[in-house]
Each structure stands twice: as C-alpha cells, then as structure tokens.
C-alpha cells in the first residue's frame, strides 16, 4: 500500500513569533524553520505502518519554497521513501494546497493520505477536510489511533469529551492529533542516507492549480501583553474586584 504524507515547512515551534512592523504578517527572516509538528506525527505514523508491513511506500510531499526540500529531507531521514516538492513562493492557502494534493493523489494513486490536523503557523485546520471533499474520499480527522486492515482503516478520533471510532473504506484521508504517537528523531546515518533519496520537483501549474490567494490579510497584531496580577488583602476586596472590575459577579 502506498501512503502520501504532506509535510509543511513552518517556523520552529520553539521560537517566539514577532509581528512585522507594518503589521502585514509575521517576520520569518533569518528564523529557524522546521517541519510542522503535526506533519511529523503523520510521517511517524506512516513509518510505523511501513515497519508493520502494512505500507510498502511512503511519499512525502511539500508545497512551498525551494527550502521546503529540507522539510522533505527530514521526512526521508525518518523513513519516507521519496519526495515531491511543489515549488510555490509566497503564501498558499489551504484550498490551493488541497487542490494540488488532489492532483498528486490522482498521479500517484495512494490508498491513504495522512496529514497533520493543522499547521502551527496559520492553524487553519482545513487542508485534510478539503482534500477529502475534493476527492470524495472518507475522512478520519484528529486521529488518536489508526488501524489499517486490508480495505479499511479504523480511526479513533479525539473529540470533545472523549474518543470516537470511525471505520473508513480505503482510499481515505486521515489527519493526526497530538497524541497519536511520539515522532522519532532521525538517526544520524539515516540523515545522510536521506540525501540520496529522490525528490521530484514540480510546479503548481503541473496540476493546473492557481495559487493566487483568495483571502486578504488586513492586519496582524501581537496578542495583548499579560498584565501583572495583584494581591488582595481580604475576601471583601476580592469580591469587590470581581464585581466591579472583572464584572464576573
């Protein structure tokens, strides 16, 4: 079985994001980029399925600038077999990503596409669902556990207040939640071996997709600074503040 795993290049999750002074977006210049953590979980799951013998080939796809190759190399070092880079400069919105992925799915015919539930940069949480809709495939989002058996995939999903289990016919779309697995760190020899694995470079036009944004960002602002707390001396003072300042009583 072939699995397709889209991986996105985002700002390293350890870094503090700064808003550009003209408020047009966040400043990414000279900052360390890394694979979106949810995508890492998706790669890990695919590699585990391969280790179990369920999956025979893992194709990692990234849609982004030239440097997104590094993100694909990370997936290859973790155990993916080959990569596809769809080179696009500038922002690509979820719908354009989903359309490109649809084109790749049609060309590659995977049985399963495992995506991160969202990317930590714009937190859209849309691509997997849109791809499922465009393909007319079943979807199991926010996966906590995945079991693949012949023509079915059983996905245990994280939903408000508990877990829900759905059985999907293959081919299907799965998106990963945080607790699905703990991604491995690539061994040092595997990082070197990954350099030799093939990466195809494509353009959005190869799939007939126009990536021009449909949304317009008006303004990006920092969240309000946290104010220091105050100590109250008496219960009466607390009640007074809750009533008259916080307005919650």
């Amino acid at each position: 079985m072939k699995v397709l795993v889209p991986v996105k290049r985002v700002l390293d999750y350890n870094l503090k994001v700064k808003v550009k002074s003209d408020q047009s977006g966040v400043d990414l210049s000279n900052l360390k980029m890394a694979m979106n953590p949810f995508c890492e979980i998706a790669v890990e799951e695919a590699v585990r399925l391969k280790e179990k013998g369920v999956v025979t080939e893992i194709v990692a796809v990234s849609i982004g600038p030239e440097q997104a190759q590094e993100t694909i190399r990370t997936a290859l070092a973790m155990g993916a077999d080959r990569g596809i880079l769809v080179k696009v400069d500038g922002d690509v919105e979820p719908l354009a990503v989903a359309k490109i992925l649809k084109g790749i799915v049609e060309a590659e015919s995977p049985q399963l596409v495992i995506l991160g539930k969202q990317a930590i940069d714009d937190d859209a949480n849309q691509t997997g669902q849109m791809l499922a809709a465009l393909l007319g495939w079943p979807q199991g989002t926010f996966a906590f556990k995945i079991d693949v058996a012949s023509d079915k995939v059983t996905v245990t999903r994280e939903v408000d207040g508990g877990l829900q289990t759905v059985a999907l016919n293959l081919p299907a779309i799965v998106t990963t939640d945080l607790r699905l697995n703990e991604p491995r760190y690539a061994s040092l020899p595997n990082i070197m071996k990954a350099k030799k694995k093939p990466i195809d470079v494509k353009a959005a036009a190869d799939y007939g997709v126009d990536t021009a944004p449909r949304l317009k960002v008006l303004k990006v602002t920092e969240p309000p600074k946290r104010q220091g707390g105050v100590k109250v001396k008496t219960v009466a003072e607390l009640v007074d503040k809750l009533k008259n300042e916080a307005g919650v009583l």
Partner: protein, 398 residues
C-alpha cells in the same frame, strides 16, 4: 534553568548566541536538529540523576550507538559510518552534547574517541576487527591511558614499563586520571619499551580484566557521570600481538589524537559558555532587585554583553579552524591557542553567569552549577593552557 515556556519568550538563546556560520549546509542543520531531539529526549532529563549516581547506565551506550553517535566518523566495516560527514558535523556534535551542561555524560559516552583512533590508525587488522565493532555498537568501552602519577604534560617522560619476555610484554607501573578507567573493557596504554624520551614509547592494548591490573576510583570536582580511575599494573602479562603499531614508535600515535580532540574540546567549551549565557540572560530578565529587573542594572547588562562578545569572537575562530582542518591543514598554532581561548571564555562565562544568578548558581540541579565544576577539566585536560601556549610559541618560532 528557566523552564521551557520561559525560554520560548527569550531572545538570547543557545542558538541565537552562536554567530551564523558560512560553513553550515542543510546537512549540518538537519544533523543539529536530530541531535537536539536525541539529547532532549535521552540525555537532558537524566543529567542530574546520572551525575549524582556517578555513572551513565550501560543501556544508554546502546541507544547512543543505534542513533549513530558512537560510530560517527569511524569506518563502516566496523559498524561506524563516515559518508558525508565532515568536521562541522563534529563541531555540532560537541556543541549539542555540551548543551545540557553535562560534560561527564559526554566524557563517559565518547571516551572511545580518544581510545579507539590509535588502534584504527596504526593497529593490526586482527586488533581492529576484534575491538572496533564491539566498541562502536556500544557493547564495550575503550579508554586511553597516557597520564601517570608522576605527570601528564611531559608525555615523552612516562615511566610505565613494558618488558618483552618471549611472546609477552610484562607491564609494571601506574596511570592516573583515566576517564572511563573503572568501567572500560579495553585500554590503549602508553608504555616505555625502549630508552628514555619520546623514542622509547609504545602503545599497548591492555584488556583491563588481565591479572595484575587493579583500578581505584577517583572522586572529582565535576564530570561526575564519568568515572575516573588510577590504574595499577603489577607484572601484567600482555601478548606481543597487543602492540599497537611499531615498537618504540608509539609517541606519534599519541599525538595523532590531539588535534581532533582540541577542536572537539573547544567546540564543547564554547557551547557550554553559551548555555551559561542563556540561563543568565533569562534570569536577569526575570529577577528583580532594587525595584527593577537585574537586566536593567548596567553592571549586569554589561556582564551579558561581555560574555556574548567573547563567545562570538571565539566561535567565529572555531569555525575558521574547523574549515582549515576540513581542507587538510593542521594549523597547530591556531588549534592550541583556540583551545585556550575557548576554555578561558568558558571560565569567564561560568563565572559571570554565576554572579548573575547569585546564590541559585551555587545550588545543585542548575546547569550553571554543573558547568562551573567542569571549567578546570577543560582548561587542564587534553593539553593544559600552559602547555598549549608553549606549543604555540614554539611553533611560532619564539
């Protein structure tokens, strides 16, 4: 150490403190990213416990070997791997291993880095095949014994004697301050087989379970997770086949190690200095005294600037030295003085960072406290400051 959430809001970090290197490629960045995860998952959470226990658990050697840490730079036929690896991967490895402030853990895991190279460089095929795979898989450990109770700087005058008797050498003498001496299975030992001076020194592979070998653990200021021993050889019989290289030509084998070791020590020392600054800067921006943040007192701000100044300059030189070695040079003057520069920078930063933390810097469990205890072993081991300067001066023709 500030917690992770705190660190995320900091702009002065271990990474931001390193000047950007023109020599780093994607492969180096990927290497650092993976090592970071390995260290954060397998090493950093345990450093205090291992330090207090005085040992790194045996199974960690296996985990490190599977990850590729132990075999990096060693021939593939013995279970190592060299393909695509250059000096900068080595620099990054030393830096990332230094980041948790646990030099003892690195010393324990990586001691084969001084014990094994002489065997691979000048040992027999049988010896390589018997030792290297066991060491590189993390199963066995090999140490290096040069220093003696009578001295370590003056290597050419070592006293431990190996006397040829038939197909054996009989070894008598003692070795001092040997890293991994208590736990290692093999030891590359410098012995005197000939007359006085460098021309009478040989290297001998000694299995440390041979009759006549006794070992005594030594307690020390830092590097607790790595054991250090005095080794005593009392009529120890060692087969002649254990001779590494040619008799009385062992001195060159000893010297083989040094340049790589100095680059590695400089990388580790400067990374430890960055760890000190990271913690001190985080603290200075949190802690309030006399109504304002510590960082708002000019004396403290300047301490931080002075530390950064030294780390930046030294690390840029480190990169240049690594680049020269990578291109086949052996810049002895630079490598020896770089080591001094790096350990003095570490000493300065460990001191100033400790001052910024105040009493907290003196408490166990702090990264700075551990690093402070490692300053001297960096400044003395692998060629002391005095010896490094003297070597450089001689090379300069002074």
């Amino acid at each position: 150490m500030a917690d992770d959430a705190g660190r995320r809001t900091q702009t002065i970090t271990f990474d931001s403190l390193r000047p950007p290197s023109p020599f780093f490629t994607d492969s180096h960045h990927a290497w650092r990213a993976s090592l970071r995860k390995f260290v954060d998952r397998e090493i950093a959470p345990h450093v205090d416990a291992w330090d207090e226990a005085g040992a790194v658990p045996r199974e960690v050697f296996k985990i490190a070997a599977d990850f590729g840490l132990i075999g990096v730079g060693y021939p593939e036929q013995y279970g190592g791997w060299t393909e695509g690896v250059d000096r900068f991967h080595g620099v990054i490895t030393s830096e990332e291993m230094a980041r948790p402030g646990a030099g003892g853990v690195s010393a324990a895991l990586m001691v084969h880095g001084i014990g094994l190279p002489p065997i691979l460089a000048i040992g027999t095929e049988e010896m390589k095949a018997a030792i290297a795979p066991a060491v590189l898989s993390g199963e066995k450990q090999i140490s290096l014994a040069i220093t003696e109770p009578s001295g370590g700087s003056d290597v050419a005058n070592l006293q431990t004697r190996a006397t040829r008797r038939g197909d054996h050498y009989v070894v008598d003498g003692a070795k001092m301050f040997i890293t991994g001496g208590m736990t290692s299975h093999y030891c590359t030992v410098a012995v005197r087989t000939g007359g006085p001076g460098a021309g009478g020194v040989s290297l001998l592979l000694i299995e440390l379970d041979r009759p006549g070998v006794t070992r005594t653990p030594l307690k020390k200021q830092g590097w607790w997770a790595s054991d250090t021993a005095a080794l005593y050889f009392d009529g120890v019989e060692v087969p002649v086949a254990n001779l590494i290289g040619v008799e009385n030509q062992g001195f060159a084998g000893v010297m083989l190690n040094f340049n790589g070791e100095r680059l590695g020590m400089a990388s580790g020392a400067l990374a430890s200095a960055r760890a000190c600054i990271e913690d001190a800067a985080a603290w200075a921006q949190e802690r309030r005294t006399f109504g304002k943040r510590l960082a708002d007192h000019q004396v403290i701000r300047h301490k931080i600037a002075m530390m950064v100044q030294r780390v930046r300059a030294s690390t840029a030189w480190l990169d240049l030295c690594a680049w020269r070695v990578q291109n086949g040079e052996t810049p002895v003057v630079d490598l020896s003085l770089l080591k001094v520069q790096a350990t003095e920078t570490l000493e300065f930063c460990a001191r100033e960072a400790s001052q910024i933390l105040g009493g907290a810097a003196y408490m166990r469990g702090q990264r700075i406290e551990r690093i402070y205890r490692e300053v001297r072993v960096n400044a003395i081991g692998g060629g002391s400051e005095e010896i490094m300067r003297d070597l450089a001066a001689r090379q300069l023709g002074v």
